[in-house]
């Protein structure tokens, strides 16, 4: 330790030049309005970026960029920092040339333009989206240093669109025999995923907007599927087609990827729902505490099965737990921000969070998960994350057993 101690409250410290000296922003005229018709973050925020995890993928257009959760607040993900996952790159598709087709086991096969879709009764909902592979690098051991790389395939937006159920009704979908829908994207990969009809009719949306504006090109402009609580790959981007069918489609990303390898060599196919999970985002791996004393521990919790009911936090590696404050509103299949007070005494500590969802399911420890799933399943790692605080204040990614 480098002689850190609680900063004393100085009775008469030296005068702070930041106060005593007049600053340029106090003595000159600032910039006009609308100099940025579409604004940008402060230049001092430049380190908070979407980033690739070195070595994770060989090519950048079949890859992922992780969201900098370590710098986020609240639950909304700014659109510019939403995580990305493309299988064949992204395009800024001309919305006037984009179409949505509904076909298969329907009375009428239909085609919609964006003009059409946006006339229909729309709805707006807040939901998280998490890639099924989020935290996947950590199944076997600690592999990456920060929460950006451990949990950064996670974002949360207010989405606006029409319920898929409405489009299916307009097409006269056969809901007796039609047990599945296939969603297909308009990119080079023609991304296709099967969604069970039960979920499709429940709360799936055909969405054009995120956080008040149109989808970003990287996130499917002008149309994507929103499949609340379900892994991101099913939220087909640049959505061009919905087919109603009586059997799953066994597409490449259902039969070769997004399948979870079990210890006996079988793969679980169609793993879909993202289970209850949470992570402390500050302080988190790679960060350094400046001094001892009070800190606000803050993080995110979510569940693909419903709402967050409570979050407990441990600062001693899981020996003892205390209930965290949950920010409101607590919404269905949406991020919930938690906060809890902590006074750091300068000794080593291990910070963990543990979420409970409205179905009563409690986030498990990594060892318990491994007992069933082994270490090679890649997807759906919802284990409790541990961050070690060293005596020098440096925080690192650890696993405990």
């Amino acid at each position: 330790a480098t002689g850190m101690g609680a900063k004393a409250m100085a009775q008469a410290g030296p005068d702070d030049p930041a106060i005593i000296e007049k600053q340029i922003w106090q003595t000159t005229l600032g910039q006009p309005v609308a100099v940025k018709p579409y604004g940008e973050p402060s230049i001092y925020e430049k380190y908070l970026q979407r980033r690739q995890s070195p070595g994770l993928t060989a090519v950048d257009a079949a890859s992922v960029s992780f969201a900098p959760l370590q710098g986020f607040f609240g639950i909304i993900t700014p659109n510019g920092l939403h995580f990305e996952r493309h299988h064949q790159g992204w395009y800024d598709i001309d919305p006037n040339k984009h179409r949505l087709m509904i076909n298969g086991m329907v009375k009428k096969e239909l085609v919609f333009t964006m003009d059409d879709l946006m006339r229909l009764p729309s709805t707006s909902k807040f939901h998280f989206i998490e890639c099924g592979a989020n935290t996947g690098m950590e199944w076997g051991n600690v592999a990456v240093p920060t929460v950006q790389y451990t949990h950064g395939m996670l974002s949360c937006c207010e989405f606006t669109g029409v319920p898929l159920s409405l489009l299916l009704e307009m097409a006269g979908a056969d809901l007796k025999k039609g047990k599945y829908v296939l969603a297909e994207g308009n990119d080079g990969s023609g991304m296709t995923r099967t969604i069970p009809m039960e979920i499709a009719l429940d709360d799936v949306m055909v969405a054009w907007a995120m956080n008040g504006e149109m989808l970003r090109p990287e996130n499917g402009y002008p149309l994507r599927l929103v499949v609340p609580g379900v892994q991101g790959v099913s939220w087909v981007k640049w959505l061009r087609r919905i087919e109603v069918g009586d059997k799953p489609y066994g597409t490449k990303d259902e039969a070769v990827h997004y399948i979870d390898l079990m210890p006996d060599g079988t793969h679980r196919q169609y793993t879909t729902v993202q289970e209850v999970k949470s992570v402390i985002t500050t302080p988190s791996g790679g960060q350094q505490l400046l001094t001892t004393g009070f800190y606000n521990i803050s993080g995110l919790a979510w569940s693909g099965r419903g709402k967050i009911q409570r979050v407990d936090v441990s600062v001693d590696g899981g020996r003892n737990w205390s209930q965290a404050r949950l920010e409101s509103p607590i919404m269905d299949k949406c991020l919930t921000r938690f906060n809890i007070d902590w006074v750091w005494d300068g000794k080593p500590a291990i910070l963990q969070s543990r979420a409970v969802d409205s179905t009563g399911h409690i986030q498990p420890m990594i060892n318990a998960l491994r007992e069933v799933r082994g270490t090679r399943s890649i997807y759906h790692n919802n284990a409790i994350q541990s961050w070690k605080v060293d005596t020098n204040g440096e925080v690192s990614n650890v696993q405990v057993g």
Partner: protein
Amino acid sequence: QDVKTYEGIGRLATPNEVAAWDIDVRPDFVGLPKGSGTVEDGMGIWDTQCASCHGTFGESNEVFTPIIGGTTAKDQETGRVASLTDPNQPQRSTLMKVPTVSTLWDYIHRAMPWTNPRTLSVDDTYAVLAYILYLGEIVDDEFVLNEQTIKEVQERMPNRNGMTLEHGMWQRDGKPDVNGSDCMTNCVTAVEITSTLPDYARNAHYNIAEQNRIFGPFRGADTTKPPVA
């Protein structure tokens, strides 16, 4: 709300339009167009259009995980790829995993070659898939793949019995594998750290100081230097 209210919004698709976009092929081969291709023709396509990324024998992991490798004749009998439980198997190739040959046909036809998707004809797709199956030793060099023979291939797919739907993550009311503990005090006796980032990896994700805000309660650690003592 009666959907009639929305009349005039959307229109019927034409048969040509549906044909243009409804290109998916299901495991039961619904959607598979008629056509055929030989291993030999497939080799020509592979070598000119695929090998640069996937390797001459489909073994490359330069651009993506290998397509070929890790399967045996035995696997074709059992429909289970044994090497999936072998800790020494370095990679999980496509053929080790894929249970359904339709998946390959569908995907190659819709998305490959990666930089020129949707450019392979139906016959070319049959041909190049025949060649992949040949490289995987599932068919011999005389094989002609068509909408009939593909059914025989399905019976030989090495991992055709390797998938399960017996898990809690397919439907929303599924049951999770394990449930965490709700213990609040004295939950564990000793906390053992079982894994940490190795020292050599400290800066493998570049300097973490430059991935955090320059103010606030925390800074990013300067990972170009050893940890502060």
